[in-house]
Amino acid sequence: MKKLLIVMVVLFFASSIAFAAGDKEGGKKGAAEKPEKITIVVYEPTEAKGMEEFGKIFTEKYGIEVEVFSIPWANLHEKIIADLTAQTGTYDLIAIPGLWSLEFIYADYIEPLDEYWTNPDLPSFDIEDYPESIVNLVADDEHVYWIPHHGTTQILFYRKDLFEKEGFSPPETYEGMFEIAEFFTDNPDYPEVYGFGTTARQGEWASSTWCTWIWSWGGDFFDENWYPIFNDAKGVASLEAYAEAVNRFAPSDAPNWGNEEAGAAMQQGRLAMLQMWPQLAAAMEDPSQSKVVGKVGYAPMPKKELRFPRLGSWGLTISKYSENKDWAYRYLVEFNSAENVKNIHRPAGMVVCRLSVVNELAQDDELVQAVLESFEHTKERPGIPEIGQIIDVWGLAVSRAVTGDASAQVALNDAADKIEEILRDGGYIKD
């Protein structure tokens, strides 16, 4: 009996090894056989609507079904990594933000697109019609790996009706913004209105909005050797100002605000100004939810030393493990055609960045003008694989400073120590 058990166990392990997924060669580039379906994974809900609408057009034209997987932001990264690690090829096209760029490039998860648009058998694409700063987010010295359908910066939403009544203009400087915010906060003429809001919840939200402040103060996160420098005088001053703005001018629960809470506060008329992403503009103009339809204006974030808002961008990439690379590329090119880009702008929630289209739209659209003006100085945090953990450390530091758990200097010093350890472990800092 014992021998039988031993034999069963050995057979079990042997069969496990035999069936274990080995390295899988991705689908060959140039395999042009028409598939029945191509699949896309995107960030819910902003991206999905535009992809689905265009998917119908693509299906009608080519007879290929387009299936869109729409996943909430909080779970998107792990879902995609799980698929790519297992090399299942579930998704032909993957929407990623610029923040994940280096991670995906280093891991060889995505296809270099320049090899496609220079292929005479495939449609060409004019990538020059995009801002270089956005294209280069997901590029290395040799290749470009995405076409960004959505590229924007954080901007300032403001109550243009209240501003007009009080004779204010959108603030050019942070000092000007503080003055206006102070006017509206605790003003008996505006009992339900607070001067300013932003997303200060611990984690990505706090880290994301503080980026704009530290860069505007002339600070930065790392030097050329990856040593943390965000706890220098500029970094500390920017965080102190950020904490002051949240504590003096925002509602008391702003330290736990994500995009939804901050957007809801603006929609309900509780804020005079809000630091936010442009794609929430659609919610401000939705009469079924918003009390401020037609009352919200859009301006670039103010400047300190510079106007330097954080860049946020999403684009489609082709999975290395896709079996339908050529047709995925065709979808990608046609989705980003100048004509379709106009269709997916704002009504579908995206803020497009194809320059020829954006310049045309900017003539009538204050929001697009605000974003275009912000492109002068903008960037994203480095998209290294460790960025997820680093963002959480920053987010904790910002939350500590905002809640008074620690001074800005102490919070940033602690964060710098932790992040230096992460970067050493990752091989970025070499002593």
């Binding site: 690690t85 891991a107 919840r201 008391s252 736990n256 694989p385 959480d392 939350s399």
Partner: protein, 306 residues
Amino acid sequence: MVVEEDDAVRGTRRQRRVTPYLMLAPLLLGLFLLVYYPLFATIRLSFYRYAWNKPQAGMKYVGLTNYKRIFTDRQEFWPSMKNTGKFTAISTSLCILIGLGLAVFVDREFRGKTVYVSLLLLPTMIAPVVSGLTWKFMFDGLFGAVNYFIGLFGMEPIAWLSSKKTALGCVLVADIWQYSPFVFLVMLASLQAIPIDLFEAAKIDGASGWRLFTRLKLPMILPQLLLVGVIRLMDTFRIFDLIYLMTNGGPAGSTQTIGFLTYQRTFRHFKMGEGAVLAFFTLVAVLVMSWYFIKALLENARGLAR
């Protein structure tokens, strides 16, 4: 003829030896695949550096480095341990007190008892995600129901989930609200299983009220009380879903728990080795903490058997 009988006897004996193993084989296989293999794989992973989103770096054996990194982390691990300890102690004890108290109160006949018990059990029927989101909205500083109600008494609104002083308390309220009914249900069933003649005998001897409860009811329901205590201890130590939904570990790390840190390290930071350390630590910690309860349970069972 003797030889045929020996063969028959041997055959039967072999069948008797093998049959129990064959009966247990599917269960043992399932246990191995779903419990022991993942457990040993996790323990093994804790000795490796492996970043899920850096396949190009491969898996590298690092010995106890991950353990050292986690247990010397003063910024995240030890504050999380402190929060988890607070949460576990308060939630477990209050769930038991409230659940037991409600059970003792309901353990009598009164009109509408069925409806009352059904209403008491409602929170356990709600999915934790729904419960977490609902409580998050209720504690909202601007639009929440809690601030509305305290406003009726003239109090100023409170930033419940944005204050270090109140955020963990809010998560505790949501957890206790959802799981006290489970304790109540088990305790009520235990109380109702006590033979009535024991009570009558005790009453004849002059026992009533508090003495009846402490000298008769409580010892009789002790095994079930220990059992729910162990279950709540395990659940509260691993708390994650409410933190994820309501506060994301903030503000300023005041609601960060070991369960949430494990999720963060594994699925946001993709550091599988460190995530494995935290997962294994959670298992060991829960086993150690529940040891007393399990030991008491076993001793109680032995006592009853004698």
